[in-house]
Amino acid sequence: MPFLKTATIKQTALCATFFAALVLTTVAAAERVFVSNEKDNTVSVIDGETLEVVETINVGRRPRAMAFSNDGSELFVAVGDDEAIDMIDLETLKVVRSLASGEDPEVIRVDPNQPYIYVSNEDDNIVSVLDYQKRRRVTQIPVGVEPEGLGVSPDGKWLIATSETSNMAHIIDLESMEAVYHRLVGARPRHVEFTEDGSKAWVSAEIAGKVAIIDMQDTFDVIHSIDFEMQGVPKEAVQAVGMQLTSDGRYAFVALGPSNRVAVVDQQSYEVLDYLLVGQRVWHLALNADESRLFTTNGVSGDVTVIDVEGDAGDFEAIRSIPVGRFPWGAIVEP
């Protein structure tokens, strides 16, 4: 339940404030960060406390997007070249089973209420819905050319799929499993994140280097577009890819690809507050449970940058670079 999750996070944060360092250490020590290495066919496991790689899991070919099962016992990894989703037992850190996913799965998302995995199948212009308990395909939803980014609203009512060549956000009603609105966004849309309250969806566009904000309550239209401009960085190198939004509604982080920077954006005013220099070709981002740290995957430099997030002070600082496998693609932090 998304609401419960928020409550837990807030509680944890509260505990940390009151009971100081010891409690914080205990909470953080349990935290593991998983990084998919696209070129190495592995998933690196980083200890969230020591910030070191503690384990490397062999998975199928070309691992990219990852998601947790709703009970938190398994990690799902889309392995594109095997046309499957590998399922990793989080106790043993071994692939325990593999689910056929349809052609070339890149992005996956898990439904908050049902045991469903949504998969974008780029070659077939469809989004597949898989039941990971019954291990069967539930349905397929036709969308535009090359579906890529996916996002599920916190209440599980909406799924947004972006199509990279049609340049659209297809808004899918998860009750009828049909795309009901189609909205043009920037060129080559890649990633979707909902705000914590589900009222807005953020859609990043790689080639346009922009983020579109879609109103998810009333008009389902694009209501704002965020541009990123940095002195000394060619416009073409600014490509918006992965995003993370803090649950308090204050900050959004946007990975800007080959510009090697992460933008910090005010979630309310859409103003870009800062650009943080990270590794080369920064692709995806993951916030840890108490949102005190942001992990970035840097494809070309083959590492993960750790950013200290001090939201109250408005202070963001890259503190560490952790070498992982070749072409790290996605990152996700154990809940």
Binding site: D123, H182, L184, E206, I207, T219, K235
Partner: protein, 425 residues
């Protein structure tokens, strides 16, 4: 309440169904209702225009392959549908988005036997309602097309001719180029050779007009990026038979002798656009030197080995449709038709002027599976695009190379730049 695309589509579909019925019943009421009939006919006409405005008809005009022109290696297929297949795929891609936007793209095609038949091909396309032309023609035939009064003010996309003059002194306002110029290709190679610090070139070229122009482009690129052409020589033979039993016996002896007088060089650059002899050069040189240019390490707009930035999706879609690999000419035609699709989707219009203005404006950027957005240079309408530098079986690099800076766009380090351009619209 903001206007939604679906509403437009729905209402358009509804009027399409209803309107003709009303017209017929009105006609049956006789002359007394003439006023009503006239007004309804007016509405019908307006609606018919409306229907037209939602359709974009694109004509592909190509030339049959001269029978003598076949690739030298038997591994390369002989193609007779190059270009048009790229246009076909882009029409399908446009329509996938178009179905949600109430826009439809239609392809008309005319493949003519010689440049003398270009006017006839154009008439056929115009007859089928083509508002835009994608040209798969070489320069001379393209110029016949551009001079033809039947073209009117239609815009032509050059998806085949690499001639720099078409982007320079012979440029035209209604001619856009989606295929890179020779100079862009030469610059892309020169940047990579610069990165390798292989700055001393020996140049071998054929005896055709195309090769002469290619040599010119190579010389200009060498000058711009600080390379030295230490020697150059023309391959003295006429085209060889594609198939010759044991042809390598002769080649193996001829090439080392041919290149032995060259001064010390790092790389052998070949200019053989028609693929008459260059394919023989790799591994046959006297000194162990890489071969680059039109064969060997080659700058190209597209290659089957290119799968980065989502290119694998385009490769697969193309192969499913055409049953063969996508070539640079297919890709150039795809870019042309997709440019129109992108402009129509963004402007919500299919009006010629609106699309033209959008395509040459600041906002236009197309995802071309090349890592960087592609766009048109407003001063000569050449598509600025990254260029692949490939071996026969692998992508070696993509230019522009890092470190070649430009005040406007790194892509403008490839090809003649604004300040040097002879183009004046």
């Amino acid at each position: 309440m903001p206007c939604r695309v679906e509403d437009h589509v729905k209402s358009l579909a509804e009027t399409r169904r209803k309107r003709p019925v009303i017209v017929w019943s009105a006609l049956h009421r006789g002359l007394g209702l003439l006023f009503l009939v006239l007004s309804l006919l007016g509405a019908f006409q307006a609606q018919a225009q409306n229907q037209n405005s939602a359709t974009v008809t694109i004509g592909y005009l190509g030339l049959e392959r001269p029978a003598a022109l076949e690739p030298l290696s038997v591994l390369d297929p002989v193609l007779d549908d190059e270009g048009v297949q790229g246009a076909r795929l882009a029409i399908a891609d446009n329509n996938t988005a178009g179905q949600f936007l109430g826009q439809e793209f239609v392809l008309a095609k005319a493949i003519v036997a010689s440049k003398d038949e270009v006017p006839e091909g154009l008439l056929r396309l115009v007859g089928e309602g083509a508002d835009w032309i994608v040209s798969g023609l070489p320069r001379e035939a393209l110029e016949v097309l551009m001079e033809d009064p039947a073209l009117g003010d239609r815009l032509v996309f050059n998806a085949a001719a690499p001639d720099d003059s078409l982007r320079g002194e012979a440029c035209r306002k209604n001619l856009f180029h989606t295929t890179p110029s020779r100079r862009m290709l030469a610059d892309a190679l020169a940047q990579f050779l610069g990165y390798k610090q292989w700055t001393r070139w020996a140049l071998v070229h054929g005896n055709t007009e195309e090769d002469r122009l290619r040599v010119e482009a190579q010389r200009a690129a060498a000058k711009r990026f600080g390379h030295d052409i230490v020697d150059e020589s023309m391959w003295p033979y006429d085209p060889m038979a594609r198939r010759a039993e044991g042809g390598f016996h002769a080649i193996q002896r001829e090439i080392p002798v041919f290149v032995q007088a060259f001064a010390e060089h790092d790389v052998l650059v070949i200019a053989d656009e028609n693929d008459y002899f260059g394919e023989y050069f790799p591994y046959q040189t006297r000194l162990p030197r890489p071969v680059a240019g039109t064969q060997g390490l080659t700058p190209t707009a597209w290659h089957r080995a290119h799968e980065s930035w989502g290119a694998v999706q385009l490769q697969r879609r193309f192969e499913e449709q055409a049953g063969r690999w996508m070539t640079p000419r297919d890709f150039a035609a795809w870019l042309a038709v997709r440019s129109l699709g992108e402009a129509a989707a963004r402007t919500g219009s299919v009006e010629s002027k609106a699309l033209r203005d959008y395509m040459t404006g600041e906002a236009f950027e197309l995802a071309g599976y090349l890592g960087l957005p592609v766009s048109y240079r407003p001063w000569n309408h050449q598509l600025r695009q990254p260029i692949l530098v490939t071996g026969p079986r692998m992508v070696v690099s993509v230019s522009p190379q890092e470190g070649y800076l430009h005040p406007v766009s790194p892509l403008d380090t490839l090809g003649v730049d604004r300040g040097e351009s002879q183009c004046r619209f």
